[in-house]
């Protein structure tokens, strides 16, 4: 298991084991304002179902005729202007979540990879190159077909799963520039991504994991594609935002790049940005991308050396 921590200054020597991180999400008393007591409680009740009964009794006493717990977890947005505000998982603003990669997650696929960034868990399998469907016209370069789907239990509100067209087209655009399509004419490579748990920054994790799966499948590429996003909250730039931070963000910037070639294959910006801000965010992302690339390379090397033995 490899841990990722971004700018050089902030590298943690002893990253916490994963179990502690997820616990700190639900139990941590780091949130300063008193209103957060309820937040912590509600999160607790989400993690430990038996507490729900107690909470529902309380709710019944008030008014609600409904029995189901409210899907809106938070009552009040955290105050980002507060200088003491820290991220819910106590990371630094420019500090990524620990990244974990493993190739060969699916046996029947040509190549596959599993990625876990905090609570975001993604599995990607690559099939092919295989013959294009009969209906497709002749093409002297290969085709890339991408599909991103969510499991029904991936999001806090159940059943918003199934296909995600926006992410699919974004994934396609991010990868097509990196793959040497000329190397497999008349055929199609299928990339299927499944988000097992959505914990924020889903698309960047999917893109990163997909390029690892392509490498595992032995598809020729110019370089590995790595992707990182930055959220803008007030004046702060937060790298690798979690779901909660994403829901309050004023803007976001997502970069997918090939670090060794120093090329950006995909860039999306939402929200209002000034040029110096974009500059800063891009540098932050590119820096993170190159570090992420190193982790992916070491993961591939590990697999290769293990198979030799």
């Amino acid at each position: 298991m490899s841990h990722l921590s971004i700018p050089k200054k902030l590298i943690t020597k002893n990253p916490l084991p994963k179990i502690t991180i997820s616990l700190s999400l639900s139990l941590s008393p780091i949130l300063p304002s008193p209103t957060d007591a309820t937040t912590t409680h509600e999160r607790l009740s989400l993690s430990f179902p038996y507490l729900n009964t107690k909470k529902n009794q309380l709710m019944d006493a008030k008014s609600a005729s409904t029995y189901s717990p409210n899907p809106t977890r938070k009552t009040k947005p955290p105050i980002f202007a507060d200088p003491d505000w820290s991220r819910p998982d106590s990371r630094g603003f420019h500090h990524c979540r620990p990244a974990f990669f493993r190739t060969g997650a699916v046996n029947s696929a040509s190549g596959s990879a599993y990625a876990e960034f905090g609570n975001t868990k993604v599995i990607v399998s690559v099939f092919g190159p295989r013959e294009s469907k009969k209906a497709m016209m002749f093409s002297d370069i290969g085709r890339l077909n991408c599909n991103v789907s969510y499991t029904t239990f991936a999001t806090p509100v159940r059943g918003q799963g199934s296909d995600h067209k926006e992410h699919s087209s974004m994934l396609h655009k991010a990868l097509e520039g990196a793959i040497i399509l000329e190397s497999f004419p008349k055929t199609t490579v299928d990339v299927f991504a499944l988000v097992l748990e959505s914990g924020g920054s889903d698309l960047p994790v999917v893109i990163t994991c997909a390029s690892l799966a392509l490498a595992d499948a032995g598809i020729m590429m110019y370089d590995l594609v790595t992707s990182v996003s930055v959220s803008c909250l007030g004046k702060n730039l937060l790298i690798d935002p979690i779901l909660e931070e994403e829901s309050y963000q004023d803007g976001s910037l997502t970069i997918a790049c090939m670090r060794s070639r120093y090329e950006v294959t995909q860039l999306t910006i939402t929200g209002e940005w000034s040029t110096p801000n974009i500059n800063e965010a891009m540098q932050l992302c590119l820096d993170a991308c190159s570090k992420l690339g190193n982790i992916m390379r070491s993961c591939l090397k590990e697999t290769a050396s293990a198979s030799q033995e």
Partner: protein
Amino acid sequence: MVGLSIGEKHFIQGGIAQDLRTDGRKRLTYRPIYVETGVIPQANGSARVKLGTTDVIASVKAEIGKPSPLQPDKGKVSIYVDCSPTAAPIFEGRGGEELSAELSVALQICLLGGKSGAGAGINLSSLVVAEGKVCWDLYIDCLVISSDGNLLDALGAAIKAALSNTGIPRVHVAASASGDEQPEVDISDEEYLQFDTSDVPVIVTLTKVGRHSIVDATSEEESQMRSAVSVSVNKRGHICGLSKRGGAGLDPSVILDMISEAKYVSEQLTNKLDSEIAAAEADDDDER
């Protein structure tokens, strides 16, 4: 697809390198813009924009709805694009669907701003009638009638024109409803609220052909593109959204150069578009 001979391709690329394109424009010049508003009487607002031979229609329909529980103080806006097969044979079936989806996503990125609503062209809070209970749902539907490149900029302009043409009826909420009940609403026939569209950004697409980037590419020029960056810029010169098309990678510094070019072009485009919209609105009023 556009079928071009090798000679034609060289002619287009050479012209762009020399800052004189096949139709006599410079690299950073738009084709003439023509705006007509109020083209669809059934809609709350509509506009037709022609950019050279690219021709699109945008319509805005408003319906009473319920705000989502996650964002009780905001209305909802959805943008859909339909590429009719009448515009080009490749729009039939899957090809059209893919392009429609791509354009819809790009427009949402460029016009609707961040999750918290910062930088959005449309003020979502102004669509709320009664917090958590009643709000307006805006459905923005766009139709591509004829396609000759640069659809995204034309669609962005059409949406801006359609929104400035939109009148939303004033709504009176009956005060009697209490608790969780859905209050009764009374929609006025006479009083309309006008949208403030000064904050709606314009979209500028810079297409990279060879080493140079051009604005407002025709479909011939688009067939020669390596990649394109669409930037939406508001009146204050801030970037409100950016999306990239085309597979080829770009150097980060090139992207920053393209952003500053887009900012420069957007000033002229905003002024031109604003005056065209004002003229079209005046025409529309005269006819009534």
